[in-house]
């Protein structure tokens, strides 16, 4: 693992970025690394569009009577924010960018098993995104990202069909990505790369892919059914002919609970890599971290009913869904304890990616524990559909998934671009994001606990202080997201050359030059050692 690679100046060496030039070489590429960058560009765009909707909502909520828009517009804003952020940013975020880039490299392969399907998945994503954006711009949708029937099928007059079509199409890009990863990890590992020598990031990618493949088709069919019912004015959710709208909720959450794990599992994978690298220590309990990813993926399929405690779902079903939701906390906690134990007596350095990783651990723990409030039948009746829920899942999705995503981008940026960004700015941004995030969402826990319902354009005057705090936090958070955008782009041109392994990390991707050659490795690597071969610190008994 100690192969020193002679550093040739970046410009004179052939790599995946300078192997060919021109717009066509990007639009028709089948190189997983270039496709990762195509995705990176498009999801960043989506992130800023979804973020703009959030900014407008937070501005609106500065005043109890609403400061900015009509209530109807507000409904459209939160729908737009939810649809874009969930389906077009969070779901593809880590898998389609870092996953695409790293899965083949980490197993020592030249590419994914199906490179053309991989490119197709991007076009599918773009098509779904374009249709959805068209729907949102040409009039919007106001059902919320949940599209509940019969609201979406019979009552609203907005662009439900186009939006659900966009979500439906986009689903196939997830499926193609998941399928590609599963096959690649099963069939294309380099000689010696056994399952238990795989980096933890790959285990999380594998678990995520299983959810992609098994859950996404269910939302796809649910979207088709919604569209069909709206179009033909007859359908299986229609109570007038004996149909049941709650069936839609079941189908919807059968996907949309596991999708939470599509968002967080990749983040957990990234954090496992970051913690190990910046503590310079083998991960504590590798096998537990690896298997807990699979356990989370598996259990996640059987907890969807916790979103429906106050629907007409049977109480007995509620009991079981509640118990299973508690069960999912176990593998999640295993991970948190293992990361902390990995840090214990490690030689820790606090570079920017590590700041994100530490932020993730704290915020994810917070979001996870408050999830237990919502998994309990009794407390959920009080907290259901309040800002407590909003705060809970933003702690998981923004505090967790986005933090890990940014941490991962910062960690592998030198590998992707061959350049280093400015560490001081990066640390500052991580700090600003952490502060802004907590200021935005912690008050929302309190608002929810006090009873402020979600999705309302107005609120009683006594909630104003907390709402203003939250909006102030959001503006800090927004600034925090703009800073990396600037210095990362700057680094592409002006950053110092990174070298193949700027962090002293272990793993195959660090043994090949940065940026990697088109085929990733000069020759197929042979793996003879266990992963994470950091020197054991003395007295590291935990």
């Amino acid at each position: 693992m100690s192969t020193a690679i002679a550093e040739v100046p970046v410009e004179s060496r052939m790599h995946y970025l300078n192997a060919s030039y021109g717009i066509k070489s990007w639009l028709f590429t089948t190189d997983h690394k270039r496709i990762a960058l195509l995705y990176l560009g498009s999801i960043t765009l989506m992130f800023f569009i979804g973020g703009a909707a959030a900014v407008m909502m937070r501005l609106h909520l500065i005043e109890p009577a609403g400061a900015l828009v009509q209530p109807e517009t507000y409904n459209k804003l939160f729908t737009m924010h939810g649809v874009i952020m969930v389906f077009f940013f969070l779901v593809p975020s880590i898998p389609a960018t870092l996953g695409n880039f790293l899965v083949p490299m980490m197993i020592g392969a030249r590419d994914l098993a199906f490179p053309r399907l991989n490119l197709l998945s991007w076009y599918v994503y773009i098509t779904g995104g374009a249709i959805t954006l068209y729907a949102l711009i040409s009039g919007g949708v106001d059902t919320g990202w949940t599209f509940y029937a019969p609201l979406s099928t019979h009552y609203v007059t907005t662009h439900v069909i186009a939006t659900s079509l966009g979500v439906f199409i986009n689903g196939f890009s997830s499926i193609l990505t998941g399928l590609n990863f599963i096959v690649t990890i099963h069939k294309m590992r380099a000689p010696g790369m056994t399952w238990k020598r795989m980096p933890l990031f790959l285990w999380s990618m594998y678990a995520t892919s299983v959810i992609f493949v098994l859950a996404t088709p269910v939302i796809a069919i649910a979207m088709v059914l919604i569209g069909a019912e709206r179009l033909l004015h007859v359908g299986i959710f229609d109570p007038a002919i004996g149909g049941d709208p709650v069936l839609f909720q079941h189908l919807f959450w059968f996907y949309s609970h596991p999708v939470v794990y599509i968002m967080i599992l990749p983040g957990m994978g990234v954090v496992s890599e970051l913690v190990t690298c910046f503590a310079k220590k083998k991960p504590f309990g590798y096998i537990f971290i690896a298997y807990s990813s699979l356990a989370i993926a598996m259990i996640s399929f059987f907890v969807w009913g916790h979103h429906m405690f106050v629907s007409s779902q049977s109480v007995y079903a509620g009991f079981i869904f509640s118990a299973l939701s508690f069960a999912v906390a176990i593998p999640s906690a295993i991970k948190v304890f293992n990361w902390t134990a990995t840090l214990y007596k490690g030689s820790i350095s606090y570079q920017a990616p590590m700041l994100y990783a530490l932020g993730f651990i704290g915020l994810f723990t917070m979001g996870g524990l408050t999830g237990l409030f919502l998994a309990s039948l009794a407390t959920d009746v009080h907290l259901h559909d309040t800002y407590f829920v909003i705060a809970h899942f933003h702690y998981i999705m923004v505090g967790g998934a986005v933090m890990a995503y940014l941490g991962g981008i910062h960690f592998w940026w030198p590998k992707i671009t061959g350049r280093l960004y400015h560490d001081g700015w990066a640390r500052l941004a991580a700090l600003v994001i952490f502060v802004g995030f907590n200021l935005t969402f912690f008050p929302q826990y309190m608002l929810g606990y006090l009873g402020m319902p979600r999705r309302y354009a107005v609120y009683p005057a006594e909630f104003q202080v907390l709402n203003v705090l939250s909006s102030a936090g959001a503006s800090i958070l927004g600034m925090g997201y703009l800073i990396p955008f600037v210095y990362l782009l700057w680094s592409i041109r002006y950053g110092p050359v990174a070298g193949s392994n700027p962090w002293g990390a272990k793993g195959l991707e660090w043994e090949t030059p940065s940026p990697p050659p088109t085929d990733n490795f000069e020759e197929t690597p042979r793996i003879t050692e266990e992963p994470y071969g950091y020197a054991e610190p003395e007295h590291a008994h935990v």
């Binding site: 399928l179 690649t184 269910v218």
Partner: protein, 223 residues
Amino acid sequence: MSESAAGSSLAGTSGRSVSPALHHQFEDIEQQREAGNFGMWVFLATEMLFFSGVFTGYIIYRSLYYSGFAAGSHVLEVDLGAAMTAVLLASSFTMAMAVHAARQGNRAMLLGFLSSTIILGIAFLGMKFTGLNFHPAVDALRGAPEHTVELFMCFYFFMTGLHALHMIIGIGLLGVMAILAWRGKISAEHYNRVEVSGLYWHFVDIIWIYLFPLLYLIGGRYK
């Protein structure tokens, strides 16, 4: 891992030499074949869950509104449905034979079986869209005295419509295979695409094997 893969009967003649059919990301043709097959199996798992949503809905409503569902089922032409099932089963046989022919590298036989599979598939769709079972069903959808009959008809049209869509895709896929075979692009060494298309075709057939009894044979027709 492909190094130790047992089934090297296929690669036996060609050895590990680089063949033009080998895509650059794979080490050898055997790995490529395994990846292709496995990929299709994973895709079929996706497909199964895609259909599972409507199957679940069907089962729930059927247990709630059995009489309406039985009445709806009686509108459908069961003899035609049985004939369609027979046609589809025959197409599965010809498909299996096509894969066999591809493995043997027998181009004429492959083309013959591929085109008979396509013809049987088109015949199935033709029978489906004949007025015989279409119009009574549409009438039942719109003007049924009992609302739950309409609900059954929603399922009927939705499930068989989805199935028909898959058939059309499958026929297109086999059409591509036939063109490839015609141009001699499919050899005993590189027949994977036919095999994978066959998997898809059989899957679509199996869906129908479930749809036929669920939609046509309920309500004690043959008591």
